[in-house]
């Protein structure tokens, strides 16, 4: 962070950072525009949930479509763009050499975002495919796949051409995310959109894809940031680092098997759900190791970056335990099909992923631009808004889910009354989402301000803590 200028440390910013400035800013800028768009739509969706007539006359904004657009903008807009930017940057830093083939990143980013705009226009006008996390119409999917590949090229080059034989946990997670998403994405396209599987097998493919996209793509991207930032900012080595490797492989090998937890009690083979329950429990090992490895985030000594990271880690680990808890059949019968599940995904996406990305953005943007963040109060305000917004949103959605689950399972309560019982919770959730959106607007404004600044305030970094094992 750039908030406590003590001694100028020019070694902190090298050619590795500055050479990648514009491509990475392009990725981050598009990411934040999508984040704001998805925040606005999330607000609209919550309002539609408690006041169904809101915007109901507009076919593009009917709840089914606007919620699909919101999800798509969040995952393929915000999460993909920001995750790729962070992954590329830390692969370059840990690889010890500037990123090569950056033109590929620029071209890929333009095509990726163009395809996404096209796809979202398609959803709004009636080409939605109605697959969770894959609502995009078939005609943009191949373009997205190719664009992703071109953006990832410099990351793979940075890994292959790294100057150090030794690798770090942050690199494993980043490379895994870069490498695995195209597999998941292309298989899901084929089996759901272009040559759909038969009957309920579609639901199984979708379950596998959604869980895979989280555990093999988004979660690794977020963890790569966390595993880089915590030791880097605290200057301490990662405790119990030996377990990190085991935890990494546990996430990769067990994670995607938990996809069936949403299908408990459904018209699918019972073993799919059973394996999901067992896998959720196995995965707890991974969450515990992450918590132990990265506990340094909680003694950050006032670093704003680490405050974001600490919150993200708490959300990640709590989310993992909550997944395991709600995967049990006795619990799932109450939480399934309710706002509880939505609360869980918001905890993972807004709580864990986004928070870790915010931390990474606050850390890397001054380094790639060589400029200090223009306003410290804006960073603090964003942190406060992101924290309160996310907590309110998640807690109220989970609360709403508990009420809804109880009512749904009590057949004597008329179905029409349930909406009224849930309404106060959803109103509070709307407030949470509004606060969150405000915070994200601050971050977006701040980044564009930083990018537009003309070397007004050269960045002054805290002296980089010396570490036993640090390559950058």
């Amino acid at each position: 962070m750039t908030t406590a200028p003590q001694a100028a440390n020019t070694a902190e910013v090298t050619e590795i950072d500055t050479s990648a400035r514009w491509p990475l800013l392009l990725l981050l800028g598009s990411a934040l525009l999508w984040l704001v768009l998805s925040g606005i739509l999330a607000l609209v969706n919550l309002m539609q949930l408690h006041t169904p007539e809101f915007l109901a006359g507009c076919s593009a904004m009917t709840y089914g479509r606007s919620s699909a657009i919101q999800e798509t903008a969040f995952i393929y807009g915000w999460a993909a763009n920001s995750g790729l930017a962070v992954a590329l940057w830390l692969l370059a830093r840990l690889g010890g050499a500037p990123l090569r083939s950056l033109n590929w990143v620029v071209a890929g980013t333009l095509f990726w975002n163009f395809a996404l705009v096209l796809g979202i226009a398609g959803i709004a006008t009636g080409d939605m495919t109605s697959n969770a996390w894959l609502h995009l119409p078939g005609y943009v999917l191949p373009m997205l796949l190719v664009a992703y590949g071109t953006i990832a090229v410099p990351g793979v080059l940075a890994w292959m051409g790294r100057r150090k034989e030794m690798t770090f946990a942050a690199q494993w997670y980043a490379v895994a995310a870069l490498f695995l998403f195209p597999w998941l994405f292309s298989i899901a396209q084929m089996m759901l959109v272009f040559a759909p599987e038969r009957g309920v097998l579609q639901a199984l493919v979708a379950g596998w894809f959604v869980q895979g996209a989280w555990t093999l793509w988004l979660a690794p991207l977020a963890l790569a940031a966390a595993y880089y930032l915590v030791p880097k900012v605290t200057g301490r080595i990662i405790p119990s680092y030996d377990f990190a490797q085991l935890s990494f492989w546990t996430l990769l090998f067990v994670g995607a098997w938990t996809g069936g937890r949403h299908l408990i009690g459904g018209p699918v083979p019972a073993w799919v759900a059973t394996i999901a329950v067992v896998s959720c429990a196995l995965l707890l090992f991974h969450y515990i190791v992450v918590a132990v490895n990265l506990r340094g985030a909680f003694c950050g000594g006032g670093s704003t970056v680490l405050k974001f990271v600490a919150f993200g880690l708490v959300a990640y680990v709590v989310g993992g335990f909550l997944d395991a808890y709600t995967a049990m059949r006795g619990v799932a019968v109450h939480t399934q099909f309710t706002h509880f599940s939505e609360g869980q995904s918001q905890l993972a996406l807004n709580g864990a992923f986004s928070m870790l990305m915010y931390g990474a953005i606050y850390f890397l943007a001054p380094r790639i631009t060589g400029l200090a963040w223009p306003s410290v109060p804006m960073i603090r305000a964003h942190y406060a808004a992101a924290l309160t917004g996310t907590v309110i949103l998640v807690v109220t959605l989970i609360g709403a889910g508990c009420v809804q689950g109880h009512d749904l399972n009590t057949a004597t309560i008329p179905f029409a009354d349930i909406a009224g019982h849930v309404r106060p919770w959803l109103l509070a959730a709307t407030a949470g989402q509004a606060i969150l959106l405000l915070g994200n607007l601050l971050l977006a404004t701040h980044l564009f301000w930083l990018a537009a600044a003309k070397a007004a305030t050269p960045a002054v970094f805290n002296p980089a803590p010396t570490m036993e094992a640090s390559v950058s």
């Binding site: 089914g64 009957g199 995607a256 799919v272 099909f337 399972n409």
Partner: protein, 209 residues
Amino acid sequence: MKNGFTFFLGLFLAVALAWAGIVMGSHVQLGQLAPYFDENEGKAFPERMPGIAAQGQLVYQDLGCAACHTQQVRRPDFGSDKARGWGDRQSVARDYVSQAHVQLGESRVGPDLATFGARPLAVDATRLTQYLYEPHGGMPAYRFLFEERKITGERSADALKAAAPAGYEIIPTHRAVSLVAYLQSLNNVYEYPEARPVEPAAAKEGESK
């Protein structure tokens, strides 16, 4: 981790194993599932949906109805699906074999629709069409599926009994008509051998279908 090849092989195996297990595993089990031929009735179940209903399924899909409605009934002792009148038996894989796009859904903001076609609201197409035009508690009106048209000559037979400006009438578009046909076709009530409710004592043995 020093060996790049082993590392990438591991990554590849991670995604391949989960895919092989969940997707291919269930494909082996269910991929060949055929409709069930009932000799007494002389036809196979589930029945193919009429063409207009298949078009309606696309409307259901592009409007994202699955954001609020599930199409899967859980077994009688798991939740209150039966008590709410959503279906006497649990949904089974065979119910869906003839559907082009299966939309099980993950949220019950609205009621489950797996057996919607058998409910009083759905039996009368006129009433159901009217229902889509008006807001109902949790469900908004879908007015963009209707057209306001100037009456020329006689009133159209399809016109809704809704308030329209003088000289105008409200006509459902083809999308509305096909959506209604699709909703009427949702009727997973045939009792397949594997779908018969198990006695509570036997239920303990497992949930296999």
